[in-house]
Amino acid sequence: MMPRRKPIIEIRGLRTQFIMREGTVTALDGIDLIIYENESLGIVGETGCGKSMTAFSILRLVPTPGKITAGSIRFKGVELRKLTEAEMRSIRGRLISMIFQDPSTSLDPVFTIGFQLGEVISLHQHVYDQSVLNKKILEMLKLVRIAAPQSVVKQYPHELSGGMKQRVMIALALSCNPSLLIADEPTTALDVTIQAQVLRLLKDLVKKSGSSMMLITHNLGIVAETCDRVCIMYAGRIVEIADTHELFEKPQHPYTKGLLTAFPKLGEQREELSVIKGTVPNLMKPFPGCSFVDRCDFATDECRRVRPSMIEVAPDHFVSCHLYRGGGEGDRVG
């Protein structure tokens, strides 16, 4: 058994909702999650399941009209929801930073790379001497394996390729040595050939700096390569969490099983692609039971009425499904 590590992020009962004229959309419906030191946690799910919203909730950057309406988010023991905006700002970019999905829309187009890097570094590290700043900027660019850092410093985002822009984003995010790096689909918008390079870079840098990473993706292949643990989300709820190889070998939740079989594996022969029937439920209508009930082959009456709690079916392997009865009614989570 692995020794219990220290948790960096502890999320309990997180609920994030969008209150609009037409109704209230519950993007996150009671999330319980722990991220430990030095680990990479993958968050997997379909579009709209709440993966990105979890990240924004941690950073308290939920776009209006969204709000965090319930729950607690503790970062190294500090309750983030109780901090002032100024205190939150000193955490963002310094202790917790985020990489966005599409590098072409995530970098300010009218400032040079050097300027934007310098801005973050001088803000959090209080460096005001231009020559010291320049040195640090070049260091960061070399760290993310950019070939000609001297010229890139003077360039604008539109002059760089997608892969280079993403490396710049990584440099921006890691520049102040954060304890947690959130990567929201970092390779989705990149060419397939570049994806592997950027992923490897990410993995290496995070390991070397000792930070934790929360990697959001819909691609199970990436998770298999990069993450220590995986968390599967569906319709704003967590349905399964486990160590990576455990999840891949012994998936418990029907949704997880569906996801895994949907991906054809190398060497496998198939007549048809297997598909999970049905579509994602409407997040505006509250439902008392399990959110997967309409698409699940094993659904029972109870599934429609009662929401399943998280149950530990194996060491460090949690599932939210009525098919499983384990010891301890969801008091231990992670």
Binding site: L61, R89, P109
Partner: protein, 310 residues
């Protein structure tokens, strides 16, 4: 930097056809109405000898292309003909009035942007609030309001009823420039406000705004350092169109307030059928517009690095 220089050169070259179009239109004006064009170029009381002399002087006996060529040739030498009412060379008349019109336009532009930009930003930051809707109503009315009516109303209130400001002309010194420039500036501020507002709203929606916040930058910097610099770009592209509007507006405003600029000269000479002066004024005003557009393009390229490559 090299990009910027080549961009400027390219824009200069493109401006030339427009200038040529302007000269062509001005040239054509002489020949548009049926009747002897030479009659336009002589004073109202003239002899047939005068008409013949005019025909010689302006080469009206030649074919049209040759006439156009000699017209251009004379222009390049600064010869815009002679006024038929005052007998002074047109270029002197026009250039004497130039600074007055420039003053008006410069101050008017400043007023327009000083009102429009802050108002647009304010409105965008408070989208759909009562204040925002108020601003939108203001812009709608201000845009629909014809500038000459606004000018007359302002004159009525401030000069006639309240006697705070002079009625017109330049005798009042500084005070006399207030009403004309406010008339010009207010009318255009509606356009500026709307443009700024919609541009700001676009920018506020962008992904990089959230990215910047996730880096821990204070909201003030995110909006005013990053957001504003991005949002101001479309507004700058519009400066060129604005200058076109201002030139037309200046003609009207100068007439109302008897401001001794090129606009008033133009209107007076239309009424006096002083054709060479009309031609000269239109030409100079067209040059204003072209130059204004050019400067706006250069300014835009300076501020937006993405443009220089195209």
């Amino acid at each position: 930097m090299a990009n910027l220089v080549s961009y400027i050169v390219r824009k200069l070259l493109l401006a030339i056809p427009i200038i040529i179009l302007a000269t062509f239109i001005v040239f054509l004006m002489l020949h548009l109405t049926p009747g002897d064009p030479a009659l336009r170029l002589v004073p109202p009381r003239h002899t047939s000898q005068d008409v013949e002399d005019a025909r010689e002087k302006y080469g009206l006996n030649e074919s049209l292309p040759v006439q156009y060529a000699s017209f251009l040739w004379r222009l390049l030498h600064g010869d815009m003909g002679t006024s038929v009412t005052t007998f002074t060379p047109v270029d002197i008349m026009v250039f004497n009035r130039l600074p007055r019109t420039l003053e008006l336009m410069a101050i008017g532009l400043t007023i327009s942007y000083s009102i429009g930009i802050p108002l647009g930003i304010f409105s965008a930051l408070r989208q759909n609030s009562v204040a925002d809707r108020g601003v939108m109503v203001f812009t709608l009315i201000a845009y629909a309001m014809p500038s000459f009516w606004l000018g007359i109303m302002l004159m009525l209130i401030f000069a006639v009823k309240l006697h705070w400001l002079p009625l017109g002309g330049t005798v009042g010194g500084f005070a006399s420039i207030i009403l004309p420039t406010i008339t010009l500036g207010l009318g255009n501020s509606a356009l500026t406000t709307r443009m700024m507002r919609s541009s700001m709203l676009e920018v506020l929606r962008m992904d990089y705004m959230t990215q910047l916040r996730s880096r821990g930058l204070p909201e003030r910097e995110v909006i005013f350092k990053h957001g504003l610099k991005n949002a101001i770009l479309p507004v700058i592209t519009v400066i060129g169109l604005d200058i076109g509007w201002f030139v037309g507006g200046a003609v009207v405003v100068e007439t109302i307030f008897s401001w001794p600029g090129i606009g008033k000269l133009l209107v007076d000479s239309i009424q006096n059928a002083d054709f060479p002066v009309v031609q000269g004024c239109i030409l100079i005003l067209a040059m204003f517009v072209v130059l204004g557009n050019l400067l706006a393009d250069i300014l835009y390229a300076y501020v937006d690095p993405r443009v220089r490559l195209g």
